[in-house]
Every structure is written in structure tokens, then in C-alpha cells.
């Protein structure tokens, strides 16, 4: 299903929860609604579902306006943040609910429910009640229940928020595979940028009720349109310009915020043209990579990462830093600065993520 949203507005009392939001989603895409808490993500999702009426604006499904259509008739599946399973029904009945509403034949319902139990990996659990399930199992039941009536649009509100980190990663990968296999248009809400980047084809970043940026995770990560996005999506170093930095002569005159991603920073033992001198101030092992804080000769601090398990740098060691890229934001513009001195080929590059 193709979705288009135009100038959507929602107020709660005098509070503007969603403010002039427009976006479109192509058939079969997996879209993440990302943003800080209270930004209006759930409100947008609920309006897509028809659970909340917009004060203004239109929502189109496949070119048809759906504003007056109640949730029952929108052909959606919705997975709630805390699953909202029916506590008095067992797993089978929960999954069968939407099919019973459609008055399907008993045999058809049975077949479909067992098929879904297989898909979500809960065979043999059909007689259990929600209170007998773990968080991850409940989540799968909620998903199976939403999928049973074959919705054309799947909406997920923070589907992993109540699950611990390990299971969460597994479920994420599994969900991604499942949705690809079913080819359904899917919108999920999250405030976890790592989750959003890993799962989504497209990201819509929402903040204070407004769409701040829409694009692929790569786009948003590499070319954020605002300081907010630059610091919200991915790790980053933030400086206030102007600064003196080798290889970036324009930065002498740049008045604005500067952002440098850790992976744009390369650390070597020996310097060369376009290198800054620095000293290792802090090293922290993060499982498979080192987080290293360096103080440059000009007093500025930088965080970067080095993949691998070996001790390469030690505390207090003198190092050379080569920076490949920096992003600058002023009130008026966004500028990408590339290093003027090319990377020296013969110096041993010990980092790049």
C-alpha cells in the first residue's frame, strides 16, 4: 500500500502534538519513525491507524483519502507498544480474532493460525495464555495477531521496547526478514537510532511534532540537515567554530556548529601533511572495539573508535590525527568540509570504521 500524508495536525487541548506533517511512503517499504520521546511519533501512527482523528490534514492510502474511514475498515495491522493481547484468550484465540471477525471458515482459521504460529516460531504454544508468556513471546503473538487478517499496512509502535537488548537484536533481524518476505508496507516507531538505522529502508525523523528529515538511513547519517539530527542519529563530536584545524583552512572563518563523526577520524602513530598532533586521554574497551578520546594540540577533544581486540594505543601516547570530513551548521546553511590534504598513502592507517 502506498501512503501519503499531507499537512497533518493534531492538538491535545492547547498542546500541538503533531504540526504540519507531510510525507509519503512507497509500496513495500519499511519505514522508521524516529525521534525523541514526546515528539509525536505515536500520535502520527495512531492517526494512520484511524485510532485518533487528525484536526487537520489528509491521509491517503493508495491515492484514496481515508480520514473518514474507521480503523476497522482500513486494512491495517497494529502492534501496540505493550502488545495489548486479550488476556482472557489463549494464544490461538488471540491470533484467530481478526479471522473470526471476518467470519472465515473454521478449517481456514485453524490452518492460518498454525501457519502463523510456525512463522513466528511459537508452535505448541497455542493453548497458553498471555500471562504465561515471556515478553518476546508476547511480542510475537501480537505480531501474528496483526498479520493474521493479511493487512496491507503494518504499524508497529516501539515493538521492541519491552524486550531486553539481546532478544531485541535477534527479533529485529527476524522481523526485518519476515517483512521482506511478506512484502508488506510497514511503519514502525522507535526512539532508538541504532534500531532505526538497522531496520529501516527509509527514516522519518520527528521532533516536537514536526518532520525534521526524511531519507534513507545512509542519507540521514551522512548528510543530516540540522545539528539536532547530526547529534541524534549516530555518534558525533561537536565543536563550536571557528577552529584551527590542519587540512581545513576554511574553518578559521566558520562561525557555527561543527560535527565530526568518529569514523571520519583516522589515528596514526606518525604524522604527515594535513595531520594534527594529539595525545590519548582515555581508552575504553567496548567489546570488539576501542573508544579513544584524544586531546588535540589546540586543546579540542575528539572521540573515535578503533576496531579490533589488540592494544594499539596507550594512555598519554602522542598520536597523529587525520580528519577526512566535517559538517558545519549555521542558522542559514549546512556545509560539508572535505580535507584539503589527501590521505598519505604510506603512513600506516590504524583506524577506520
Amino acid at each position: 500500500m502506498r501512503i501519503e500524508v499531507r499537512q497533518l495536525e493534531k492538538r491535545f487541548g492547547s498542546f500541538q502534538a503533531v504540526d504540519n506533517v507531510s510525507f509519503s511512503i512507497e509500496q513495500g517499504q519499511l519505514v522508521g519513525l524516529l525521534g525523541p520521546s514526546g515528539g509525536g511519533k505515536t500520535s502520527i501512527l495512531r492517526m494512520l491507524a484511524g485510532l485518533e482523528m487528525p484536526d487537520q490534514g489528509e491521509i491517503f492510502f493508495d491515492g484514496k483519502i481515508v480520514n473518514p474511514i474507521p480503523p476497522q475498515k482500513r486494512g491495517i495491522g497494529f502492534v501496540f507498544q505493550h502488545y495489548a493481547l486479550f488476556p482472557h484468550m489463549d494464544v490461538f484465540e488471540n491470533i484467530a480474532y481478526g479471522l473470526r471477525v471476518q467470519k472465515r471458515k473454521k478449517a481456514v482459521i485453524r490452518e492460518r493460525v498454525y501457519e502463523l504460529l510456525h512463522i513466528v516460531g511459537l508452535e505448541g504454544m497455542e493453548k497458553k495464555y498471555p500471562h504465561q508468556l515471556s515478553g518476546g513471546q508476547k511480542q510475537r503473538v501480537a505480531l501474528a495477531r496483526a498479520l493474521a487478517p493479511e493487512p496491507k499496512l503494518l504499524l508497529l509502535d516501539e515493538p521492541f521496547s519491552a524486550i531486553d537488548a539481546q532478544v531485541r537484536k535477534e527479533l529485529r533481524r527476524w522481523l526485518r526478514g519476515l517483512i521482506e518476505q511478506l512484502g508488506m508496507t510497514t511503519v514502525f516507531v522507535t526512539h532508538d537510532q541504532e534500531e532505526a538505522i538497522e531496520l529501516a529502508d527509509q527514516l522519518i525523523v520527528v521532533r516536537e511534532g514536526k518532520v525534521e528529515q526524511q531519507g534513507t538511513p545512509w542519507d540521514i547519517y551522512r548528510n543530516p540537515v540540522s545539528p539536532f539530527i547530526a547529534s541524534f542519529v549516530g555518534e558525533t563530536n561537536r565543536w563550536q567554530g571557528p577552529v584551527k584545524l590542519a587540512g581545513f583552512p576554511e574553518l578559521d572563518r566558520f562561525h557555527g556548529s561543527l560535527f565530526i563523526r568518529p569514523e571520519w577520524i583516522h589515528m596514526r602513530r606518525e604524522g604527515g601533511p594535513g595531520h594534527e598532533k594529539g595525545m590519548v586521554k582515555q581508552i575504553r574497551y567496548q567489546g570488539g572495539r576501542w573508544q579513544i578520546e584524544v586531546e588535540l594540540a589546540n586543546g579540542l577533544h575528539l572521540l573515535t573508535f578503533i576496531q579490533g581486540d589488540h592494544h594499539i594505543f596507550s594512555l598519554g601516547q602522542q598520536v597523529s590525527i587525520w580528519i577526512e570530513r566535517a559538517l558545519g551548521f549555521t542558522d542559514k546553511e549546512v556545509r560539508a568540509f572535505e580535507c584539503a590534504s589527501p590521505k598519505t598513502v604510506n603512513a600506516p592507517a590504524l583506524s577506520s570504521v
Binding site: 480503523p71 501496540f80 486479550f86 488476556p87 482472557h88 480474532y97 471477525v101 495477531r145 496483526a146 493474521a148
Partner: protein
């Protein structure tokens, strides 16, 4: 140690306020043999009083069952009311808990008594309210009104609306959603509220005494008949009826206990509160 003391004092308390008085009732009821007890229970005024109690109870349970449930929905789910209005509504619902039943009866006398405006109006159209069944029903409704609301509203608040919204996204209309999702989650609270209302209606004394005028074979109820027998020093008759009501209370307790076990939303706090309420109702007799 302190635990043992607590348990012991609870047992003593139960013995003093519940078991001793009730065994007194049983002894007195049977003191002149089963025959005179059966006589007392089957006398014209006794059967009439039981009938009146039954009629009032049925009407009150039906009324509170419907109106109380609806008000519980309004309180827990109503959207338009501002915070202040809902505070006022809650206070009004709880009013009967804090007002003495006798005063409730007096209020009805003051509003619908023969010499008042409303009383005269209803007299003209041929409806007697005070010293008649309508007044007694009104008084009992007033006294029992919070029971339904206070059983159901917290459950409605606790279950929230997301399960119902989930049903909607799965294609279920409002009626289907109510019967397949909402009702199964609140039915034991509703049943509980109904049983409590019934117990309280059967046992109501003060408000009904004031409003009914306690006219034998007309407006006399089981409890006001006990009162009259006691005043006339007819202890066998008084205690026989008290014994029947006591047995009824015991049955109610058993039913409540059974319902408690059937309640799916296993909330311990809610449960013990309900048991406390049941004991209060039974012992307030």
C-alpha cells in the same frame, strides 16, 4: 511473635463481634423448638416482609446494575469532563458511604413527604412515594449506589482501552468489541458489584425504617420486622428472621469467595478490599 499476637487478636475480634452474636441468634431462634421458629417465619407478616425485601432488592439490583455500570463507564472513560467535574462526580458517587442511612431516609422524607411540593405533586397524580414502595426503593438505591460504580470503575481504568483498540484494528465493531473483549474483562467485577448490592439491599435498615413508616403487611421489610419483634420482646420471632438473614449473608460470602477465585484480573489489593467490604456489609446488619 507479633504475628501470633495479631492473629490471636483477630480471632478474638471475630469471636466477639461475629461468632458470639450469631450463635446467640441461632440459640435464641431454636430456643422454643423448630416448630415455633417455622411458625415465626411463615406468619403472614413475615412472608410479607420477606416479599417486600425481595421486591425492593430486585428493583434496586436491576437499577444499580444498569445505571451504576453506565456511570462507571462514564467516570472511567468519559472524555469531555474536565478534571474538576470528575472530582465532583466522584464525590457525589461516594456520598452515600459517608452519609448515615437514617439521614438519607430523612432527606427523602424532606423532599417527597406529603406536605412538600413534590409530595403533593406526586399525590395528585396518584403516586405515593413516602411510606410506600417507591420511597423504600429510592432510599435503598441511594444507600447502595456506590457499590457498582466502585467495583467496576477501577477495573475499567486498570484495563485501559488498548485491548479494545486492538480489536478495532482487527476489524471488530463496537458491539463485538464490547462483548468479546470488554465484557469478559469486567464481568466478574460486575457480578461482584451486583452481589454486594444485593447483600446491602437485603440488609438495609435505617433508611428504609425512616421512609417506610414500618407499616405491618404493607411496607415492612425483613429487617424492620426484626426491629419490631425485638421492640415487642418477641425474641424467637426476631431471632428466627435474623437467622435467615444471617444464613443469607453467609451464602453471599461464599458466592463472593467463589467469584473472587473466578476473577481473571488477579489483583490482590482489589480482592482483599472486596472481602473487607463484604465483611463490613455482613456485619453492619
Amino acid at each position: 511473635m507479633s504475628r501470633a499476637v495479631m492473629i490471636a487478636s483477630t480471632v478474638v475480634w471475630l469471636l466477639l463481634v461475629l461468632i458470639l452474636p450469631f450463635s446467640g441468634v441461632v440459640t435464641a431462634a431454636f430456643s422454643e423448638g423448630t416448630a415455633s421458629m417455622v411458625n415465626a417465619l411463615t406468619s403472614r407478616e413475615a412472608t410479607h416482609a420477606f416479599t417486600i425485601t425481595g421486591i425492593v432488592t430486585v428493583i434496586v439490583v436491576l437499577f444499580n446494575g444498569i445505571v451504576g455500570t453506565m456511570l462507571a463507564f462514564e467516570l472511567a472513560r468519559g472524555k469531555r469532563q474536565t478534571k474538576r467535574l470528575s472530582a465532583v462526580l466522584h464525590a457525589i458517587v461516594d456520598l452515600p458511604f459517608s452519609v448515615s442511612p437514617v439521614i438519607a431516609g430523612l432527606m427523602i422524607l424532606l423532599i417527597f413527604g406529603p406536605s412538600t411540593m413534590l409530595g403533593t405533586f406526586f399525590g395528585h397524580i396518584g403516586v405515593k412515594i413516602v411510606f410506600a414502595l417507591p420511597g423504600m426503593v429510592l432510599a435503598t438505591i441511594f444507600v447502595t449506589f456506590p457499590l457498582m460504580v466502585r467495583e467496576i470503575a477501577p477495573v475499567l481504568t486498570a484495563i485501559g482501552t488498548t485491548a479494545e483498540e486492538a480489536a478495532a484494528t482487527l476489524g471488530a465493531g463496537p458491539v463485538r468489541t464490547f462483548w468479546t473483549v470488554t465484557w469478559p474483562m469486567i464481568r466478574w467485577a460486575v457480578g461482584y458489584g451486583l452481589v454486594l448490592t444485593m447483600a446491602r439491599s437485603v440488609g438495609e435498615f435505617g433508611a428504609v425504617l425512616v421512609v417506610s413508616g414500618n407499616i405491618m403487611n404493607q411496607t415492612q421489610t425483613a429487617t424492620t420486622l426484626i426491629y419490631q419483634h425485638a421492640v415487642n420482646n418477641e425474641m424467637v420471632a426476631a431471632n428466627s428472621i435474623a437467622f435467615v438473614l444471617g444464613m443469607f449473608s453467609a451464602c453471599v460470602l461464599l458466592v463472593l469467595e467463589w467469584m473472587k477465585q473466578r476473577k481473571e484480573g488477579k489483583k490482590d489489593a482489589h480482592r482483599s478490599a472486596a472481602v473487607g467490604k463484604a465483611i463490613w456489609i455482613v456485619s453492619s446488619r
